[in-house]
Symmetry: C2
């Protein structure tokens, strides 16, 4: 059992303002300074926050040629410009700049290369039928960016100002957004620590940048259900760890298990947790399981709860909200709860599985055909000639409708 | 209980050659390629390994002025040059180069900025009394570098060749090593993924670089015992995770708890693990506890076992080996075993603590005066006017004697 003070301290870890350092033992200050930088300050509340009105724009003199939409590969090509904002512990957020897309030039001792001071967001801009450009729930990305950055002693930022700046950036490069359903501009806000020192401590400087990559539909020829391998020999996240933050640190360690799964023919791996083998999340998505509840007989849509071990996906949140609004009245139970992999296997065996799908920004939903678990394939409920279940199809249609502005909805943010 | 196949797979995670991807389901290849790069190959065994004989050297035209030894700050200033080697999935390791110390120029989509494809080593070069230059157990650093890199799908490297190249680099910049006991040249071999894509997959290219920073003694005016705060509200590492690898990913998430400890006046935090609150490691060091065993009455030197949750410190290994060789015959028991923080607190209360010290490359040993645990200070056995215990003093003297070549020992590697 965790004591109250443990819970309070754990909670404080994600609180936005960080602690000030007031060393009691001045005799040992020198030691402290060796391992922690002199500017050992968490983001100050007095320093200038991001000011969108200070934006300067330097346009490229060599605009890129547009690629054919059908040739686009996720995250491979980028637009003409990038948005950058520097931060220093002494001066806070500097004036934002839109500049031609270009390399970053960094000293090899920069802390991002050594201690993974880096976090990011993934979001998209969509063209609607009237030529307007829309973001999808950008406030959720801004909230999460600040949770991520503050957890690793990087500064937080005014989310509204950043959203406005991202809008300016997207408008400038809007010619890169293909004008067709399923296409969008993937946006990658990224924050890195830029302090030049090998001392392990809070970075005294940081760089926030946003780059943009035009992308096509995840499933260009319609859904194709995927197969997962349940990973029980490696663990992605732990209570009290950082698995719920969008930190670079959560990604590199996942590649090897994903390659292992791939070597056996599975598209992604499914992370189990603990002796109970709770279902947590898929390689790069949250997971939803629809089944007939064994005890109540009710149809239930289940996803893992936000207990600190799973990413707080924006699509996850959207699926949950839409399910509560539009499926609950039709008799569905919507549950954020832990579910064991063995219970999923049992439901499959008893013919109680309805469907399973991943949820994330890239594909919105990814239907799952089966899951390899303890050497057996757990069937997830799709018919042989089916590539997606009803709920997945419904969710994609609802969410895409909002993203592209077909349905008027407060989640859609016109820039 | 973990099954045999779990253990085999977990073990395979750190094996050097990675799996090849042979997708069974060709229909879904396109999906796979979206999230994983086309060059999704683990380090091949056929490609050229690092070849030290291919080294080219470009000397700086603007040599730096040397700093006064007493002004050196850890990891702040660097020598004239750096060692760099590029790797590509198609061509293996390229020819190594020593070039003037300079910025890295990287595309903002480079995977090191987004997914923490980065690992490093920390080692030192020492000047001996005859003007010779020595490394300390470089083979251990090379082994660990390869364990770290392969765990995050970065390439492995021929450790002997890299040690030779580091030797060439250190000799070229040897004027930066202050000629006095306690001074050394801190070396930072670093490997980063350099692939330009936001797709989450194994990097198709990487950069290995080594930079060097002259450093002074950790305790310039003699030992100063430190105070620790036991962290029970956040977790550094867990079984099946990557806490035993020297990955950037393990560092950024530790800053906030260290700042928390600092805000209450403690120099470092001590990571506890699990409901049992096992003592694992200190902020940036392994931990050794010397006490009188409650049951046997024997003097016992204890450190946490290598169960995957603690860093496999080279200094830790050296302390253990020397203790087994030189303390065991004097009646000490040397134990790699789990110990609960509550047992440490109990031993303190019963007057059974002898001493506690951290062990790491920076300070060799760092004596600990007390540990804050559940709101109380656990006394670690030092007398009030003492700043270090006997074992810590002895270990520092033994290890330093080997590092500086006073004692002939196979651990010392003359370059």
């Amino acid at each position: 059992m965790k004591s109250l003070h443990q819970l309070a301290r754990r909670k404080a870890l994600t609180g936005l303002p960080g602690p000030r350092i007031v060393p009691r033992q001045t005799l040992s200050t020198r030691l402290w300074q060796r391992s922690f930088t002199a500017t050992a300050m968490a983001p100050s509340q007095q320093l200038p926050d991001l000011d969108a009105s200070k934006l300067t724009v330097t346009k490229t003199s060599t605009p890129k040629e547009l690629q054919k939409p059908q040739d686009l590969v996720f995250g491979k090509t980028f637009t003409d410009h990038m948005l950058t904002v520097e931060w220093t512990a002494s001066d806070g957020w500097h004036a934002p700049r839109i500049i031609p897309y270009q390399n970053l030039s960094l000293d090899p001792s920069t802390c991002v290369f050594h201690y993974a001071f880096e976090c990011f967001e993934g979001m998209k801009a969509y063209k609607d039928n009237n030529g307007g450009i829309r973001l999808f729930r950008p406030n959720k990305n801004m909230e999460r960016l600040n949770k991520s950055s503050s957890r690793i002693a990087l500064p937080t930022v005014d989310g509204e100002a950043l959203t406005k700046l991202i809008g300016d950036f997207v408008k400038l490069d809007s010619r890169f957004i293909p004008d067709a359903r399923g296409y969008s501009l993937y946006l990658r806000p990224t924050m890195i620590g830029t302090q030049k020192t090998l001392g392990v401590g809070p970075p005294g400087s940081a760089l926030l940048f946003v780059i943009a990559s035009p992308v096509g539909p995840y499933y260009p020829t319609g859904f194709k259900a995927i197969s997962l391998e349940a990973t029980d020999y490696a663990v992605r996240a732990w209570p009290g760890g950082v698995g719920d933050k969008k930190l670079g640190a959560n990604y590199a360690p996942c590649i090897k298990p994903q390659l292992e799964a791939a070597s056996r023919g599975f598209q992604q791996n499914l992370w189990l947790f603990g002796e109970e083998e709770y279902v947590t999340e898929v390689g790069t998505m949250n997971l939803f399981i629809a089944l007939k509840n064994k005890e109540t007989g009710q149809k239930e849509l289940i996803t893992a709860p936000l207990d600190g071990t799973i990413l707080e996906g924006v699509t996850r949140d959207s699926v949950l909200a839409l399910a509560r609004e539009r499926l609950e009245p039709k008799g569905w139970a919507i549950s954020e709860r832990k579910i064991r992999m063995s219970d999923v296997a049992e439901a499959a065996q008893e013919g109680k599985m309805i469907e399973v799908f991943g949820a994330g920004t890239a594909a919105i939903v990814s239907p799952v055909r089966n899951i390899s678990y303890r050497g057996k394939l757990v069937d997830c409920g799709l018919k042989e000639n089916e590539e997606a279940g009803e709920i997945a199809l419904q969710m994609k249609s609802w969410i895409e409708g909002i993203q592209y502005g077909d349905e008027k909805h407060p989640w859609s943010y016109v820039i």
